[in-house]
């Protein structure tokens, strides 16, 4: 992709990112969204994160891989544990990356 197309894509990304950030705080003031919409929106964050995470750690070379050599899958468990116990984004990312880096170094994966 050439840099000009990338720039145009970035402008599009900026627009679709700003609108959801701005709209509620801009129009709501003290009003609130209809209850079913609020209920639905409450599931969007978890759903979208899971929808991106699962393929990233379960699928290797267009196939489901639950084998021992699938490092990304096994490193998810210590990462999950740290996130759950410490509730720290940075701490979880560091533990996950260190586990993967050390495993690659030791087992040459």
């Amino acid at each position: 992709m050439d840099q000009k197309t990338i720039l145009l894509t970035i402008l599009g990304m900026a627009l679709v990112t700003y609108i959801p950030r701005l709209l509620p705080v801009w129009v709501l003031a003290s009003k609130s969204l209809p209850q079913p919409v609020v209920a639905w929106l409450r599931y969007v964050p978890v759903a979208v994160l899971a929808a991106m995470l699962f393929p990233a750690i379960v699928v290797q070379d267009d196939q489901v891989d639950l084998g021992l050599s699938n490092l990304f899958l096994w490193a998810a468990f210590p990462t999950l544990l740290v996130a759950w116990k410490t509730r720290s984004l940075l701490g979880s990312v560091i533990v996950g990356a260190v586990v993967v880096a050390v495993a690659r170094y030791m087992f040459g994966l």
Partner: protein, 243 residues
């Protein structure tokens, strides 16, 4: 009683300082993750200018890392923008949750505030608003400090990236999955959400293997969130009947 101009100036200075201090933990998190983004963007062949512009204009960590991956795999621009939209739709919730506290703000102040609303600044602001009435200067300084750290981290990554030949030994390719895991855990408050996560994740994998391309994320999210709402409605209905 009106404070004298000099007292007012020094209190504003204190507010700025408080805003910077509030941003401290965010800065510590944004510099290393921004750095990972900068390195990966450099490796994906995105120019220095475009990399920094993305951190300035989009300013949303996970979607920027996803976009870099999509650029590297030559995905069409439309699918990058749509994926970004879905990934960042969660900000609606954060924005709606803070709206009662900004009732007295001017429209342009609200516009500036919303531009720099992230998961992390939200967490800090929600705590601050709950414990008192922080000044606009303090809130906006926290936001500006956080984004400055993000842009600085990205720039550092671009610089460092030029001397890193392979990101694998440093496991920078695991930063994004690890971030997804942590953000998912931080957003989960009840069992229905855990169920929604598992169902949506499985659905997303299934759709991907069926060959729907990048659409698996959007489709699985829409279906998964709907399953959650339906389950919730079903739960309420059961409770009503049993009483």
């Amino acid at each position: 009683m009106n404070p004298s101009p000099s007292a007012k100036a020094s209190s504003t200075k204190m507010e700025w300082l408080a805003g910077v201090v509030q941003a401290g933990p965010i800065v510590l998190g944004y510099i290393p993750i921004g750095l990972a983004f900068g390195v990966l963007a450099q490796k994906a062949g995105i120019s220095v200018l475009n990399t920094l512009l993305m951190s300035l204009l989009v300013y949303a960590g996970s979607s920027q890392l996803i976009a870099v991956g999509l650029f590297a795999s030559r995905s069409p621009a439309l699918s990058v923008v749509l994926t970004t939209f879905v990934v960042n739709l969660r900000h609606v919730l954060l924005s709606a949750a803070l709206s009662p506290f900004l009732e007295r703000w001017r429209k342009r102040e609200i516009a500036a505030f919303a531009y720099q609303l992230t998961d992390e600044t939200f967490a800090v602001h929600a705590a601050r608003f709950a414990s008192g009435t922080p000044s606009k200067a303090e809130i906006l300084t926290t936001n500006v400090t956080a984004q400055t750290a993000w842009v600085f981290g990205s720039w550092l990554g671009v610089v460092v990236g030029q001397s890193i030949s392979d990101v694998k030994p440093l496991a920078l390719d695991y930063v994004l999955p690890a971030m997804f895991i942590a953000l998912m855990v931080l957003q989960t408050q009840d069992c229905v959400q855990v169920g929604v996560a598992l169902a949506t994740g499985a659905l997303s994998v299934g759709l991907l293997l069926m060959g729907v391309g990048q659409w698996n994320v959007i489709a699985a999210t829409l279906i998964g969130a709907t399953i959650g709402v339906m389950f919730e409605a079903f739960e309420i209905w059961i409770k009503k009947r049993s009483c």
